[in-house]
Subunit: 223 residues, 2 copies
């Protein structure tokens, strides 16, 4: 939970983003993990519009999120999630078999599903007659549908960090609008119905709404 | 090193692949890690042309590699590499700061670099007038060039699992042929000059050459 006074954990995001990505900026993955595990954190921001050397020192590609945990510095939402997950069994099961499966599914969400779904979306923005990534995305989503037809959670018979990452990748509206995947729809709805997701989502939306207000005031002040 | 008698670690790959991907199939990442860390392993294979339920039980997307380590089952080259890396400080530094950076860079190779370079290549196969992913790939490679202008290794002042994964993503010929990146070229050459890479690469090429021979014999036998 956000806690300015007692947090040694700092999550970094942009100081502002346009309205479209609000609720989807990847700092949500870390806010959500903190809510699930009851970890206290504070938010800090880097400029969205001018990604300077300070930002690049923490994140070489000028992305967010990144985090600091005492002296530790970690970037990439996947690496940050794995770091946070180690702090609590609610996210990372302690038995070695489920732990190995959780790791496998977290990485597959990033490197087998998101690696296709985000470039597919990006290529689609140019409205080509055919999107060359469409068949690849369909194959991935077909495979996942078979998985979710057989189980409610990816591993350990319960929610883990694997579900957090996979659901965050799959919940994008344009991914949900791709084809007919009832078991996956139900899975995404199940994971996103968790109070921790709702809190993290509301906190991110409020954060950027406040940023909007601050921006308007700076403009009024002639800044 | 390959060791049929003493290995509890089994790496799985395809029983055959066409000539093009030989030397690039992702089981190389795991062979390489085993060579770096002196881990004994055995290779097993699943059919390339008929990806059945046994394969999908271990790897839900019908990909390779996956591994078994005693009772543990892990899939995704990234998750498998992180598992192997934990076994030896040569791959995963023990100090918490370098460890956090190694994790960050491994994930960035998968989710920030390969997530762009592989779809860019795939889209390019269709020879579109413009590849919509080109600017994105250029931005990633520009960022990395600045990193490699300042250091020989990604973290810890020495080779780690982060370099193994990043170099394996960057060494693809069509990625190396993209633009002018002398510091990155030197980095990739430095990492791929390691004896462990050369052994792993030669072993993979020999493995698929033997598979070719077996295939030809089966055909002669009328199989």
């Amino acid at each position: 939970m956000p806690d300015e006074d007692n947090a040694r954990l700092t999550l970094w995001t942009f100081d502002w983003v346009p309205e479209g990505p609000r609720g989807f900026v990847r700092d949500l993955r870390l806010r959500w993990a903190c809510e699930e595990a009851g970890l206290h954190y504070q938010m800090r921001s880097v400029p969205f519009e001018d990604r300077g050397p300070d930002h690049l020192t923490h994140q070489p590609f000028g992305q967010v999120p990144f985090l600091t945990d005492g002296d530790l510095r970690i970037f990439e939402s996947g690496a940050c999630l794995l770091h946070l997950a180690e702090k609590d069994a609610s996210l990372m099961p302690r038995d070695t078999g489920s732990r190995a499966e959780t790791m496998s599914w977290v990485v597959s969400a990033l490197n087998s599903v998101e690696m296709v779904s985000v470039p597919w979306w990006f290529v689609g923005l140019a409205s080509p007659p055919e999107n060359p990534l469409e068949g690849w995305l369909r194959a991935r989503l077909d495979s996942l549908e078979r998985v979710f037809e057989g189980r409610d959670w990816l591993t350990a018979g319960r929610f883990t960090a694997a579900d957090l990452m996979m659901a965050d990748v799959l919940r994008l509206p344009w991914v949900r609008a791709f084809g007919d995947y009832p078991a996956t729809d139900a899975y995404v709805a199940r994971v996103c119905d968790r109070p921790a997701f709702k809190t993290a989502h509301a906190d991110q939306v409020a954060f950027f709404a406040t940023a909007d207000g601050n921006r308007a005031r700076r403009k009024e002040d002639g800044g």
